[in-house]
């Protein structure tokens, strides 16, 4: 998993002990936008869909995630409500890391925690770029779907 690529084997074993496995059947919702939570999840097997409500029963797909990807870390750090809904696209196996386990890990193994947070920052940067791309794509879709001419307004 890319999140642990800078963590050495000894620390990795410590991490592994902090993780709990959680299965999710196809179509099942793990949590909804607005729910409270204090854990992050890593996808061990299968694929999940990240979506955000648009109108009624329609939601926009923000991302799809597969083995090695992770999500839910925002609530872990800022204690705010979930910003998106997560559902399983296939049968999924997740690994769960809660706030207490992360705090213990940071106290017991600061070096491993630093490596972990550094990987986290790299992924955040990638996601920020992807979000920008998505905003541009959605804007372009809106312009094309309505035939709106902005250039000569």
């Amino acid at each position: 998993m890319r999140l642990f690529r800078n963590v050495d084997d000894t620390d990795l074993a410590t991490f592994a002990r902090s993780l709990r496995e959680q299965p999710l059947r196809r179509g099942q919702v793990l949590f909804r936008e607005g729910d409270l939570g204090d854990e992050m999840f890593l996808v061990r097997a299968g694929s999940i869909v990240v979506s955000k409500g648009v109108t009624g029963r329609v939601e926009q797909v923000l991302a799809r995630m597969g083995p090695g990807d992770f999500f839910g870390e925002m609530a872990l750090f800022d204690r705010s409500a979930r910003s998106a809904t997560i559902q399983a696209d296939t049968d999924v196996t997740l690994l769960l890391l809660d706030r207490d386990a992360l705090a213990r890990l940071t106290a017991d193994s600061p070096r491993a925690a630093a490596a972990f947070f550094q990987s986290l920052v790299h992924v955040f940067i990638e996601r920020l770029r992807a979000s920008g791309e998505l905003v541009a794509e959605v804007t372009r879709w809106g312009l094309e779907a309505t035939g709106l001419d902005v250039e000569s307004r």
Partner: protein, 409 residues
């Protein structure tokens, strides 16, 4: 130097949660182009604009000035643009408006539509609503299990589309190796002779109808369903002949495929839009030739039924197939049934009213609400006549089929 590649159209991935289900959803990918052609542009209300005609004294050309009374913005539009403006009443999709435009002006320059939309949006004279009326109605009644089931079924079926845009060479080959024979005077004569013989066979079979259908034995309903299934195959032949007619007139077959019409009628289809660039004769021949497939097949089946052993399964099957093929022939060419089939296209072409059905439905709905005047113009009388004849025809068609099924059972 190779021309620059066209930019990729944007796509959105939307997740639609199944109603009532806690953990059911599906992801739909929607291209902006599809959303655009299915959108229903809606002009501002009647009291928010004024339209005045300006006739040029030099070339006699008519143009129009459109004014947004709320913003005091003016637009100069041409005659075709005025036609398009009148279509933009929120009930017609851009696809339907484009078809009406082609039928009215015989031009394929669709750029005029997005160009006009941009002008109207700049003048704040237009809104665009990307919705389907049927789906909207079903969504409104989603709490009813029947509407919910219909909506789910439509969603699944609407996605079934097996088609190819690379069919012109195939049609050209089929035309070269025999298809051209269908467009000769000999084929017309043969068709007429078969029709007469088929009709005679049908008339001779009619008095023994009960004995004929008894050949189906104990499961007449299953037999009728298998006849219907075989009929579906002949719909493909109908569409192929349309395509051959296009090749005959030197036009291009853009697409051939299978889909569920309106989400529930299984059908084959061929894109014959290129024929709009041809003459009226070419358009009429293209429309009629497909339907003649049913006339020929119906006549052949009825002749087989007449020659078959009385009361046998073959006789019953052939007679039912003949009947259904003749029915398809009449329905395809009969313009008054609310369905825009071959006969309807010939009628609107002849009348020069490309949106006859939509205009007639709108007018009658206005009348029923009591908003129309007491006197009819000639065009309004045509609208009322179209709706009345179509309603009676559809009722008669349904009654005839129900009677046939009850009789067969």
């Amino acid at each position: 130097m190779a021309p620059p590649e066209a930019p990729r159209r944007a796509r959105l991935e939307l997740l639609v949660r199944r109603d009532g289900a806690d953990d059911g959803f599906e992801v739909r990918e929607i291209g902006s182009a599809l959303a655009f052609i299915r959108s229903r542009p809606q002009r501002v209300p009647e009291d928010s604009f004024e339209l005045a005609e300006v006739a040029s004294r030099v070339d006699g050309q008519r143009s129009f000035i459109l004014k947004n009374t709320a913003t005091d913005r003016f637009l100069l539009i041409t005659e075709p643009e005025r036609f398009l403006w009148e279509q933009m009443n929120g009930t017609r999709s851009l696809q339907e408006i484009a078809t009406a435009y082609v039928l009215k002006y015989g031009e394929f320059d669709f750029d005029v539509i997005p160009h006009l939309i941009r002008k109207l949006q700049r003048a704040q004279l237009l809104t665009v609503t990307p919705t389907s009326r049927l789906r909207k109605a079903l969504a409104r009644h989603r709490r009813q299990p029947v509407a919910k089931m219909a909506e789910s079924a439509l969603t699944v079926l609407e996605r079934v589309n097996i088609s190819s845009r690379n069919v012109q060479d195939g049609f050209r080959l089929a035309y070269r190796f025999g298809g051209f024979l269908l467009f000769t005077p000999a084929a017309v004569v043969l068709c007429a002779v078969l029709a007469v013989f088929g009709l005679v066979a049908g008339v001779r079979l009619w008095p023994d109808a009960e004995r004929v259908v008894s050949g189906f034995g104990r499961s007449p309903l299953m037999a009728v369903l298998s006849v219907k299934l075989l009929f579906l195959v002949t719909v493909a032949a109908h569409q192929i002949v349309h395509g051959l007619a296009l090749v005959h007139y030197g036009r291009r077959v853009r697409e051939f495929g299978f889909t569920f019409l309106h989400g529930f009628v299984p059908t084959f289809y061929v894109d014959v839009t290129d024929i709009f660039m041809g003459s009226r004769r070419a358009r009429v021949v293209t429309a009629v030739s497909g339907a003649l497939v049913h006339l020929v097949l119906g006549s052949v089946w009825l002749l087989i039924a007449l020659r078959a052993t009385p009361g046998s399964f073959l006789q019953a099957f052939a007679a039912a197939s003949g009947m259904i093929q003749w029915q398809a022939f009449v329905v395809a060419l009969y313009p008054f049934c609310f369905i825009e089939m071959d006969g309807y296209h010939v009628l609107v072409d002849v009348l020069g009213i490309p949106t006859l059905k939509q205009d007639a439905m709108h007018h009658v709905a206005t009348m029923l609400r009591g908003a129309a005047g007491p006197r009819f113009t000639r065009q309004e009388a045509l609208y009322v006549g179209y709706v009345a004849v179509s309603a009676v025809s559809v009722a008669a068609f349904i009654a005839f089929n129900v009677w046939m099924i009850i009789h067969a059972s």
